[in-house]
């Protein structure tokens, strides 16, 4: 089938302003949008730049705006999209080239919330720390995050305030705060209680719709807020 792509192009090395590249490609209905982008790059215009790697929705490289919604290009089949597909870079981060945005500010926010298990209790070598399936299930959902930035760049609070830690970092904090083995929940909650923390969330719920991993992001944020209000994890 033939589809049309309108891709927002911008190479700061030579373009003074972004422009729309228009392409027509021949694809199979079961092809991913990523395959269609490759068709453009490999057969029509080698200068088109985008990130991708795994091509099946687990590495988080190819989050972009597809028909106005944040999606992974490798998880959208063209048969489920319109005959003309509009593709833009994620909003809120500097565009480096075409669909590639500067991810450094995103990873900086991620690092802010201490995204690692802290537990200085002496470990018994040769055996695991015990954790029941029920304890594990409290944070299982948030372990699925692939740091693609789809949620954060869909959030109006983040658009208006780029210093807001954003939903992805709260999801990452949640993954540790509610892990029975972790001992640094209080520190993370303290960080999220500050002015650029979790209270910037206005429950718009764009993040829920944006997550390609199906994480219940609003629920995770609500649990963090509740832990702050009731001072109890």
């Amino acid at each position: 089938m033939k589809i049309k792509l309108q891709i927002k192009r911008f190479n700061p090395e030579k373009d003074r302003a972004p422009w729309w590249g228009k392409y027509e490609v021949d694809v199979e209905p079961n092809d991913r949008l990523l395959d269609a982008l490759h068709e453009v790059k490999w057969r029509q215009d080698g200068t088109l730049a985008f990130r991708r790697s795994c091509a099946h929705g687990v590495c988080g490289s190819d989050a972009m705006k597809i028909n106005g919604r944040n999606r992974l290009a490798c998880k959208e089949l063209v048969r489920n999209l319109s005959r003309t597909i509009v593709v833009e870079p994620l909003m809120g981060f500097r565009v480096l080239k075409d669909l590639i945005v500067d991810m450094e500010p995103f990873f900086k926010k991620y690092r802010q919330i201490h995204p690692y298990l802290v537990n200085e209790d002496p470990e018994e070598p040769g055996r695991e720390r015990l954790q029941t399936p029920a304890e594990r299930s409290r944070f299982e959902d948030t372990t699925k995050c692939i740091l693609c930035a789809a949620c954060t760049t869909a959030c109006p609070s983040f658009w208006t305030n780029p210093d807001y830690v954003g939903p992805a970092s709260i999801v990452q904090a949640h993954r540790f705060i509610f892990d029975s083995r972790d001992r640094a929940g209080a520190e993370r909650l303290h960080i999220l209680n500050e002015s650029e923390g979790v209270w910037r969330c206005r429950t718009v719920f764009n993040c829920a719709e944006a997550c390609p991993r199906g994480i219940d992001v609003p629920k995770a944020i609500a649990e963090v807020k509740r832990a702050l209000v009731f001072k109890k994890i």
Partner: protein, 582 residues
């Protein structure tokens, strides 16, 4: 023009499981460490590993490292080095516990221990029945490993150079021989070359599955580290052994984990027969991957592919919604997303997909790279993970053992490097270290030929799949070797449209294709020479294993533009080669 130069005691190239575990180990030893990754490390392909890590914890039933060792050796078709396999299976246990302590959220038993499940080729008491050995986190075990190690590297303030692509190895040529002094890499964001000066360099650059048309491998897996090492005179070991995973999504190649069959899924042909019962009467669908992939092709050849086509069905319909959602949630999601099918109700079309390179840069059990058949180490140069060949997988890797490999040998490499760095001092940087990389970029940036890298790559992938896939024979391999020469010639005639510096991914893809071409030539040359069938290397013209002549590792080196093959013996300690039956 001055080239930015960085100095780190330890330099790790590759941000997957092996690289990050090495970096974490080095930083815990107090060694200033940098990681170069052509992606953001969390995008590495370790994250796509699904099923589990094999370790004989014995949490749900009796198990022993010796049983794991036996299975691995037998699975390897007796080509693995048994001293290395013994270390792999023994240290798997402490490594899993260490990962748990670092935060990995394993699935748990009701008592709170790490849960374990069945996987292909893993058995109790040397082949009597399948055993629960794979420690797992749903069907996202690799994702959890990658996340956990990245998190701990952040905690230890490992320095990351994200989106830096390695182009060359810098070697100091002294009177006492060669020594590794660093690498040259391109910063993808700016297109600039950077020089990294280091006392010790680890390559943990992953596999090369993108040389095949249907593959489970990420686009990034173009064998860069292997190709760079090969160009600098390091031989590549056992490259003819490339694993095809039996259950890739039809045409797309996306992996459906062996855990599907570990949890009870079965393969069916057009007649609805569970054909693995015929091939491996004891462990059936949980036979090793080489055997299952061949069995699928046999069904197809005998007209029992679905609708006469080139695929069979994976049947998960009897597992029940709860098992699917709790233990195979991502798999269920892939099937729904990419096939529009419901795994609880529908049969899933699958075909073998190029999955894993058993071969690679030869190393010993400490991660040190061996530069010849006499096992002479190249000081300061290390390799671990899929790009390396220890060899623990021999001619066919067992499921879960790739994760065991990256963890055990990533960690061991980190330890070896930290010991080496303490006494090695700094190598000097040769003045011509940048020359090759500079010339390459110069040429490609101005390339105005008529060939397209994408077209060449497509031809390469199709022909490799056709003639160097699950089944091989002399005539088609010889023909392929000739075509490879032609393609290498055509590569010199390519033209690029993108002349810009920043994120020139067209340039990057050309460099990657050059690496794939080199590795394909090594693979085909090694496969053509090996006139026997062993593990994943199935020669239709030589259908039997030939221990008398071929119980040895291939070492393929580049000499004056030719691939020269040498061989070295397999280390056999506890298990003498036997006929492989399951």
């Amino acid at each position: 023009m001055t080239i930015p130069t960085h100095r780190f005691e330890a330099l790790v190239v590759g941000g997957g499981g092996a690289g990050l575990y090495a970096a974490l180990t080095l930083s815990r030893e107090g060694i200033p460490t940098a990681v170069l990754s052509k992606l953001y490390p969390t995008r590495s392909h370790t994250g796509a590993a699904q099923g589990g890590i094999g370790a004989a914890l014995g949490n749900t039933e009796e198990d022993h490292p010796e049983w794991h060792m036996y299975d691995t050796v037998k699975g390897s078709d007796y080509l693995a080095d048994q001293d290395a396999v013994e270390i792999l299976c023994r240290e798997a246990i402490e490594t899993v516990y260490e990962l748990e302590h670092l935060g990995l959220p394993f699935n748990r038993t009701p008592e709170g221990k790490i849960d374990q499940r069945r996987f292909g080729g893993h058995t109790r008491e040397q082949g009597k029945a399948p055993v629960r050995r794979a420690c797992y986190a749903a069907d996202r075990t690799g994702h959890m490993i990658l996340q956990t190690l990245y998190q701990q590297c952040i905690r230890r303030q490992v320095r990351f150079f994200d989106e830096f692509h390695v182009l060359d190895l810098v070697l100091e040529e002294g009177s006492g021989g060669r020594r590794c002094a660093g690498v040259v890499a391109m910063d993808l964001a700016s297109g600039e070359l950077h020089l990294f000066h280091a006392q010790a360099v680890l390559f943990a650059t992953g596999g090369s599955g993108r040389m095949f048309q249907v593959t489970s491998n990420a686009h990034a897996l173009t064998g860069d580290g292997m190709a760079v090492a090969f160009r600098r005179g390091i031989p590549l070991e056992d490259m003819e052994f490339f694993q095809f995973h039996p259950t890739g999504i039809y045409k797309m190649g996306i992996l459906l984990s062996e855990a599907c069959r570990g949890e009870g899924g079965v393969l069916r042909n057009a007649l609805q027969e569970r054909f693995m019962e015929r091939v491996a009467p004891t462990i059936k669908d949980l036979a090793p991957r080489d055997m299952v992939s061949r069995a699928i092709y046999q069904e197809i050849r005998q007209g029992r592919g679905i609708g006469g086509k080139d695929y069979v069905h994976l049947d998960l319909t009897h597992l029940g919604q709860e098992t699917l959602e709790k233990k195979l949630p991502d798999i269920a999601d892939f099937v729904r997303t990419y096939m529009g099918l419901d795994p609880a109700r529908d049969l899933i079309p699958v075909q073998p997909t190029a999955h894993y390179s058993m071969g690679g840069i030869p190393t010993n059990v400490d991660g040190e790279v061996m530069q010849d058949e006499k096992d002479t180490p190249l000081p300061g140069f290390y390799a671990a993970g899929e790009c390396a060949c220890v060899s623990v997988h021999g001619a066919n890797r067992l499921g879960t053992n790739s994760l065991v490999d990256i963890l055990v040998f990533g960690r061991r490499s980190g330890m070896t490097m930290s010991r080496y760095i303490r006494h090695s001092g700094w190598p000097s940087l040769p003045s011509q270290g940048l020359d090759w990389a500079q010339a390459l970029l110069e040429r490609l940036r101005n390339a105005q030929g008529k060939e397209k890298a994408a077209t060449l790559r497509r031809e390469l992938q199709q022909e490799m799949m056709e003639s160097c896939g699950v089944f091989r024979r002399e005539q088609s391999l010889s023909l392929l070797l000739k075509k490879l020469e032609v393609w290498e010639g055509r590569f010199l005639e390519i033209g690029l449209q993108d002349r810009s510096r920043r994120f020139n991914t067209e340039l990057l893809e050309a460099i990657e294709l050059q690496n794939l071409l080199v590795l394909a030539r090594v693979t085909v040359a090694s496969a053509l020479a090996r006139t026997e069938s062993r593990g994943a290397h199935a020669r239709e013209d030589y259908p039997k294993r030939d221990d008398e002549n071929w119980l040895k590792h291939t070492l393929a080196a580049g000499e004056n533009g030719k691939v020269v093959l040498k061989y070295k013996l397999v280390v056999i300690t506890k298990f003498q080669p036997q006929e492989r039956k399951y």
